[in-house]
């Protein structure tokens, strides 16, 4: 059975004397349908881990597999293709494009897959309904609350039904009420089958998720394992 995401012996060093190891040998397997939190203080290497998992950065050593595909020998172009088809990103700062409607921001999730605009918008509309923003399709980002913006960003991350969604501190910029509703949304999407990895420094956030992977000094310190798998394999 292919894992949604697998890291094998990942080392990431930044040049220097001696080199700084951000990741010092990480092995991790995330199955389809999981909802996991990677938890650690700042500087623990969790952001680097997200970048390596998301093919935004290459490891110094080790292999990354997404949906069973070995990414280590792929060219920059192929990695872009992997991101456009297999990975969805959610960022702490939302990164919505101002002056562009909610619908088109979500449709951007399909922009680089060569999907025609009509189809993109149809799929974006469905994704917005899934995240509970069916009434906000033609609003601009600056007309939305922080929680709503993050919902738009989540809709953009899932619109192309990726193999895995990587969420980097998705509640970092939100108040408690909005945070709770975003975590509820992630659980709902997971229940519908999405594989989601949340990177957070917040233990309270991590506590609400079924699996917690504790990271410190570039290593996995503790992994609570797959306590529960919410959705069936895709």
């Amino acid at each position: 059975m292919k894992a949604a995401l697998e890291l094998q012996g990942i080392v990431k060093e930044y040049p220097g004397h001696p080199p700084v190891a951000a990741l010092a040998g990480v092995d991790l397997r995330v199955e389809h349908g999981e909802l996991a939190a990677i938890v650690g203080p700042s500087g623990s290497g969790k952001s680097t881990m997200l970048h390596v998992m998301g093919t935004l950065d290459r490891p110094t050593r080790g292999s990354v597999f997404i949906d069973g595909r070995d990414l280590s020998k792929m060219s920059d172009r192929r990695l872009s293709a992997v991101r456009s088809h297999l990975i969805g990103f959610v960022f702490q700062q939302f990164f919505l494009i101002d002056g562009m409607s909610t619908l088109d921001n979500v449709a951007n999730g399909l922009l680089y897959s060569g999907t025609p605009q009509r189809t993109r918008r149809q799929m974006a509309a469905q994704a917005l309904i899934r995240v509970g923003l069916g009434q906000r399709m033609f609003h601009l980002p600056n007309q939305l609350s922080g929680g709503e913006r993050q919902r738009v960003a989540i809709a953009r991350a899932v619109v192309h039904r990726p193999a895995i969604v990587l969420a980097d501190e998705p509640t970092g910029n939100l108040d408690t009420k909005s945070s709770t509703s975003i975590l509820d949304l992630l659980r709902d999407l997971n229940a519908q089958g999405a594989t989601i990895v949340v990177i957070t420094h917040d233990l309270e956030v991590a506590d609400t998720l079924p699996r917690q992977i504790f990271v410190r000094d570039g290593r996995i310190e503790r992994d609570t394992g797959r306590l529960e798998i919410a959705g069936a394999d895709r």
Partner: protein, 405 residues
Amino acid sequence: MSRRADSAGRIAPSRLRLGDVFGVGSSGLRTRKIRTALSALGVTIGIAAMVGVLGLSESSRADLRNQIEALGTNLLTVSPGQGFGAGDGVLPADAVAKISRIGPVEQVADVVELDVSVLRNDLVNQNQTGGITVAAADTDLLATLNGSVAEGVWLNEASAEFTNVVLGSVSATRLGIIEVDRGVQVFIGGEWFTVVGVLEPFPLAADLDRSALVGKGVATSLFDTDLNPSIVYLRTPSESLDDVRGVLSATVDPAEPEEVSISRPSDILEAEAAADSAFTNLFLGLGAVALLVGGIGIANVMVIAVMERRNEIGLRRALGATRAHIRRQFLTEALLLSTLGGLAGVSLGAGVTAGYARFQDWEVVVPPEAVIGGFAAAVIIGAVAGLYPAMRAARLAPTEALRSA
């Protein structure tokens, strides 16, 4: 999964549709409208200057050509030769009769300069002639020159015998004569002459504009002059013009043909029309400088845009954009910016040309090469200005672009 991977499980490459390249490239411009307008303005001014200068010089030239066409290019003038060894320069008195015997010649008329001056009245100092020449003219002169009368009438067989005068356009102004129907008189060579007409300007015989023309009859009887022509005007069909020109000198003065000077007045206007004015080149140069500055402005704005939009670049890379997609986005943006400026510049330049040419009563000519050239210049400027910022944007590592929030 069929859409994203083939049967061997290989992932389909990232792809940005052609229509989307345009949409992505214009999104930055749409959200920053004022900056877009200002940065396109430099190119607009440059292109407008170039199109306007070329359009105006072309329009004025077209106007001159139209004038020449209206005046006819088949007019020749015969005058006494001037210069070393050409003697006093006098044409034989029967020159007109001889020329009219040349087969193809259609019309011929002469003017005899008189050694008298025209004054507004008898109280004016005799030496203050105002540069006006008094001359005796054939009654055929007006027809030969295709001229027309602005006020009053031209001399006829009868009026040419009496003390009547017709003034050239400049002469009338200098003598302060506006209307001729009240029997205005001027003082010529000690005699009072009645002004019966004022002529329209002669572009092909500007000397006549500064003349006062009297009949040959009255000239001989009052001023005791011989009638050796100072200048002879003749018209001939265009196709036989060269033939006529070839035999003209020998016909007028068989003994000394070298003492006869022949010219074609329209040649001078033609030369004027062909000449590029120094100002045209100067303004073209200024336009080019404006265009260069506009191009640098675009490059500058694009460099700033790339820095400001690092996050957007990072996001797009995370969404699956390749380096080439990012490069294409920013290059398209620069091209759109300069194309926009170019379009506005071409319209502005053409508009200024049309407005000014109408105001001057010229034919409106906007040379297509100026329009196409201006537009092409704008596109090239955009491509050059956008290249470096686009490369920079494409080189940006996704993690770095996302980090700088």
